[in-house]
Structure formats: C-alpha cells, structure tokens
Symmetry: D2
C-alpha cells in the first residue's frame, strides 16, 4: 500500500553535530547511529550535514567569537559552525557517554550555542525559535537518559522545540563491553534502538515542517523586545 | 494598539499538577507561581484546573491501577487524576526543590504517567502524542534547571512536545532563606521569573494550538502498531 | 593462605533500605542485589537489617515527625525508621530505576533524612557525621550512575562519608528486558556487578571502621555550634 | 582559648584545579572562592597549588597520553597535570556553571582523570584510593548541587573518598546578575557560603589525614589484582 499521506519534507535542512572525542577519520560509534537517522532524512529529501565538532578549533568561552574577547586566542571556528546551525531547521546532537556523562565536546557545543542565545530573530524572539532539536547517545554501558536530559533541556532552554521521543541511543549491559559498531555488540539489529531512532527522526521532521510552514512561533507573548518595551499581554502578578 | 493577531486559545484545556509535599489548604509557594501562569491561560480563554497530587491517595507502583495489581492496596486515585491528564492538551508540572531535587510527589507523578505510556491513541501512537508539557519550579536556594531537566525529559520521552523555554521558576540566593510568597523574598516582582513564566505559558499555548489544529502528529514514521506490523518507512541499517 | 590481615568489623552495624515500589512480600530485584552485599557484611560479623520503606507509612513532608506538623496526618512511621538509621554506622540505599531516575520512595527517603539534618550530635556537628553511605541500583535498561549521583550527593551533603566506589548495580542492554533476578537476564554471574558490589561493601566497612575507631570527625573546623559562636578557625575572606 | 586539639595537617598536599573557561590572567570568580578554601589549607601548613586547566593544552580523549594514540595530536599537557594530581592527597575541582551544568573544561578534567583509573597502585587497587576530593561551584544563578553531584560522583567512582559536605559554592538569586567577586553581589560576606567552604576544607583535611596515617585502604576486599586472581573474600551469589 502506498503511503498516500507521505509528507513532503524536502524544504527542510538538518545539521548533525557529532561530539565524539575522536577526530576524523577515526571510527566513531556515535557517528554510526547518527548515520542511521541521517539516512532517513536524506531518503525523505532533507538536506543534511554531519560534522564532528572536535575537527574544528573551538575556543573556550561563552561569547560569539572568542578571538574578539581574548587576545591570546588566535583562532575560533565557532562562527563557521554557527552559520550551519543557523541555517538548519533541525539540530541533532550526538554524544558518547563517559563516566555517565555527555562528552566535554558536547558541553562545549552547548556553551557556544548558549553564547548566541541573547541574539534575537527578526521578530524579537530568541534566535533558535522555530527550530527543533534531538539527540543521539551511545556508550557501552550506562547513561543515555541522563545525557539526553541535559542536552534536550539546553536546547529547549535557548529556543528549540522538542517533539515526542526526541532522544535515542544504544548501550550494552552494565560494565565495559563492545561499542555500537563492534560486531560483538550485536547492536545494529537492536529493535528498540532502531525504532526509537526512527521515531525520533520522523518526529523531528513533523514538528520542523509544521513550525516552518507556520512561520515559527507567533510573537504574541514571547518577544523579548516587546517585554522590554513594557508589553505584558495577560501577565499579572496575582499574588498581591 | 490592539493585538490584531491575538490568537484564539479558547479551545484548549490545561491541567496544572502541583507536586508540593503540603496537603491543602497549607500554603504552597509553588502554587503561588503556578497561579501566575494559570491566570494568563484563564485570561486567554483556556479551561484550566490546578490540583495538588498529595491531596489524592496515589498508590506506589507503575501500573495503571494498582488496586488491580496488589491486594494489599485498597485505594488508588491515579485513574481519576489520569482522566484529567488525558483530557488536557497542556500539562504543567510544578514542584518544590528539596536537596536540589524535585519532590518525591513529582517523581511519583512521573512514575504514574509513565505507567500509561504503553497505551496507544487511536492512531497507534503513544497516548501523550499531540499534547504539550512544561514545568514550574520553586525553592529557596538552588536547582531549578536540574529539576526541569528531569521533568521535561520525562514528558517528552512519553510523548509530550516541548515548546521553547518550557520551564520557569524562582529561587533566592544560595543558602536557606525566604520562599516565593514570603514578603522578605521580594520574589513577586522578579522580572526574570515573571518574564520566563509568561513566555513559557504563551509558548505552551502556541504549540498546543498548532498541534491541536493539525490533528496532532501524523502517524508516518512513529506508529508503534505499524512498526510492529513490519513497516519501516525509510529506516535502513546503513552500518552493514 | 589465611587472610592474616582480615580486619575485625564485628562492632559495626549496617542498615539497608530498599526503595522498591513493591510492598513485601512481592519479589524485588533490587532486594536481590542488596542481599549480595548484605551477605558479605553478615559473613564479616556485621549486624545488619534490610527493610523496604514502602512497607511503612511514611508521611509526605520534611519535618522529623509530620503528625506534629499537620493535623490531617494521622500516622508517620518515619521516627521509627530514623531510629534504625541513627543506630547504624553504615547506610546502604537501594533503588530501582524508573524512566532513568531513582524511585519516588528513594526521593522520599532523602527528604526525610534531610529533615533531620538540622539536628546536631553531641559535638555540635551534623548528626550523620562519622557514618558512611553507599547505594545499590537495579533496572532493566539505563540509569545506574545518574541515580547514584543523586543518592551519594544527598548522603554526603547531610554528613555521610563516601568511600571509593560506593555505588554498584545491574542493568541490561538498552530497551525493556529481564530484570536482575530473572533467569533470562543472566545477571547473577555478571562479574562487573559482582566485583563492584563486593568492593563497595568492603570499602564501606573499611571507612566505617576507621571513622568509628577514631571517634568520627574532630570538631576542629566543622562544628555548627562553634561557627555560630563566632569561631572561624583559619577561615579568612581573602578577596577583600 | 587555644585550640589544644588542633590537628597537624602539615604532611598533606592539596591540588586545586580551576575549570573556568577563562585563561589566565583574566579574572575568575571561581578562583575567588577557591582561594578562600586554599587560604585555610595554607594557614594549616598544607602544601597547595591552584591551576587553571584551560591554561594547559589538554587533548581530547580518554587515554593517558593522547599524543601516543593519534598522530594528528601534537601536544598533550595532561601527563604533566596528572603528575600533580598523583602527588596530591586532596583534589579540589572548581567550576563555573553554564546553563546549569559544570564547564566543558571540568568535564574534560573528569575524562582525563578517568583515563588513568585503570592504573593500579602498588597494592593492586585503583590509583586514586586513599585520596580525598571536594568541589567548589560558582555561578550567578542556579546549579551548585547539580554540578557537585556529577563531580563528586566521578571522583568517588574512580577511587577518591568524600568527607561530609564536600561541596560548596555561591550563586545569586534566579536570573542573570553579578558574579561572586562583583561588589554588587555582596557574596564575600555570605555566611552560608563561607561556612560551607570552611567545613568542606576542614573535612577534606580530616579525612585525608586519617587515610594517610592509616596507609590508605586495606586491600582486603577491593584489590583488582586479587579479584582477577580469583579471590572473592566473603562474596557469594546468594540468589542461586
């Protein structure tokens, strides 16, 4: 039976940022699972890019361009990466798990995304409004949900929207063991991981499409500029 | 200037669940801030209800009705509360912070919401699909973001969608001190809290309206039933 | 070869509190792993007790005895449980994982432990000084470390000491699956879990013994009473 | 009155690692509070050092020396920093809070500490056994406890011991605002922060002294080497 209601996602763009600690071309298990999600998007006509943040020179700090803040910092590739983030309707952050936490590279990504959050779009809203975000987590033992909590929280806090089940991942049984792409892990056929990766990917597409077609969020009730100008909509301090 | 583009939210329903440890009618600081958000919704024509979960007899466990699982459990009000959750387009969970964490009542709420997550809607999706969620956190010192991470994560994981900036709260300076409604806290005029509460409330409304008017999420790519029937859409294991 | 340096732990007492959501006598997988640790202690001559908090009527709240705070609360078994906590040199908290988090019962335990933290011992220190704590986590998929972070943090924050590797647990591969005691899980022979449970147990014993034999912590530098009396030891605000 | 029971801490060494994102000599608020703790140690005769990890070239990865793992990595200062970690009886990690989380530099520190955790001391125990750890957190709004949970967890997991109240910090009221050293914050006289910093510092000293004088932990029950050789002490799988 043909999918008569197959939506047209071809106007969407998605950026996958892999926060592995390993520079290209070393094998990244996280990239393995990210490619599963990315394949779905590509097959649905979405323009995608996958990059490893560790391949770039990202300076420490929480300003848009750190070379302008500190003379000792000679290079900062963040503005280049940010251009890709800004152009994408969908951001998917991938990270390995180390000691139960997302990688330091993932935390640095959040710091730099956050550094731009004071910027406003043309409507006076935070700049990430109208975009959607998800995350992909891999490790060999424990911590998908904990890592996802922090990443999804950060994204929604700066303006991304989150569809249902916007996280997915793979881990093995407790203790050290094989990783996602290792044959011994037998992870590629894990139905739970495959299903969650699929659902996440499609839900990101559905919500991104819906928001894009509706021009993002109305400014009614969430414009920084209007709030600063004194507009309060129906806000009232009812406790006094 | 009139708000010419003021949206019509009057078809929406919102449920506020306060997870304070204090039974009615004791003063709840969390309720204080929840009422600020609720007032906005009411003024926008939304039908709302605010309840305290601790006023109900909620049995421990992760099944829909615990009286059917354990003969020693004589009463379980969860099915009654769940009816309200099911009827609402928007769920806002409020919690105090104790030792940096959400209350045990909030965790019990998540356990019971989760207990229903195996249920599917008429489309074969998880039952909370199409609904939106947010959270309100109060304490006297530290932990809004940590509590919000866990609550928003749980909600999206079981099917809720999250708009931008779906959390808000109030805490004072580090260390013990006055709480939200205490005059000494001077919290009622905190512009950061008021603005975030307002933005959260309106963003919940915008996304709930958008999803409701579009009939929730398309089943293309996220139907449990279809996955179990063998449908894979564009999923493909690209690593082999 | 005999263990010539086998320490004598026979003066120690340990309390295991299982925070399962299931009342006795239902099977608790968490109890299963807790019994492994407890067996070691018993075999080393330690007096132990294992209880399920859900078998008691613990009232919501953060005061020592909630029946004295709220007339509508007729029963509160916390004072009875607290007596056991106070008498024990070692506290081991066990919890299942639900949606990546410790159980609501575990959170309630922390709330009630915290409720007593304003009390001081005869030296003017917080009442849990000199005791040691650890935790045991079981689930079928993900979250040992996240749950352990919160539990160990709470314990140290109110006065417990933490030896190395004070957490242990068992989870299976990502996704729903068998639990610790289920034969299909094949968890009982997991060497990683068995080793960590053993190391945790012995480290709790070593540190508890060391602290007990030294009379707990010296009051030099940590007495609430002396701080309130104006003593500052070598504290100096060096930033002005 | 003279402190007749003033302990002699002069044989101890402490290392303070500041995980600020700002390179020297930029002002670090976190350093400000760390210096308060460090002053106490110095005044008690402890040999201390405070460094900023961001002043070093620390390579991404989880191996002891990344230049030996990846030819594209030309420099890795971690071995130099690790020497200081190894020589110190006490490790205090300081971090700012960004979006409710510890800094990416702090996460990188944990990754590299963890990279050495497979090493064993001369007794066949993990290499950090016998050392003690604490943490100092500063921000302008929210997240001390959440950051402390992760840092203290990581330290105990790899072998550090944690005394009571091993975390301290300063944050202001919710929302953006002045930082610790800013005069407007009025943070320097915050009694809660000063007391917690003092108690943490002395408790680290007490426990480090106790462990050092006792030669760290007995190997009875926690030696990786003996476990691998088949020793099980009193471990027994009681569930079968």
């Amino acid at each position: 039976m043909p999918n008569l209601d197959k939506p047209d996602f071809s106007k969407l763009k998605a950026l996958y940022i892999n926060c592995t600690l390993k520079k290209s071309p070393a094998q990244s298990h996280t990239a393995g699972l990210m490619e599963v999600s990315r394949h779905i998007m590509e097959a649905e006509g979405v323009a995608t890019e996958l990059l490893r943040l560790v391949d770039y020179d990202i300076a420490p700090g929480v300003q848009p361009d750190m070379t302008k803040e500190d003379d000792s910092i000679k290079k900062d590739d963040w503005p280049e990466v940010y251009k890709k983030v800004k152009a994408a309707d969908i951001l998917v952050i991938g990270t390995p798990i180390w000691l139960g936490e997302r990688s330091s590279v993932a935390t640095q990504l959040v710091e730099r995304l956050y550094a731009m959050s004071a910027k406003q779009n043309e409507k006076g809203q935070y700049v990430y409004y109208g975009k959607v975000g998800g995350c992909i987590i891999t490790g060999n033992e424990d911590g998908i949900k904990h890592c996802a909590m922090g990443l999804l929280y950060a994204m929604q806090h700066i303006g991304y929207s989150t569809p249902p089940q916007a996280d997915c991942g793979w881990i093995g049984e407790v203790g050290p063991g094989p990783s996602y792409l290792d044959e011994k892990a037998n992870a590629l056929d894990n139905s739970f991981t495959n299903r969650n990766t699929t659902f996440m990917t499609y839900n990101l597409l559905h919500l991104a499409k819906l928001l894009k077609e509706n021009g993002g969020y109305s400014t009614y009730g969430n414009s920084v500029k209007e709030w600063e100008d004194g507009e309060r909509w129906e806000f009232k301090q009812v406790n006094k």
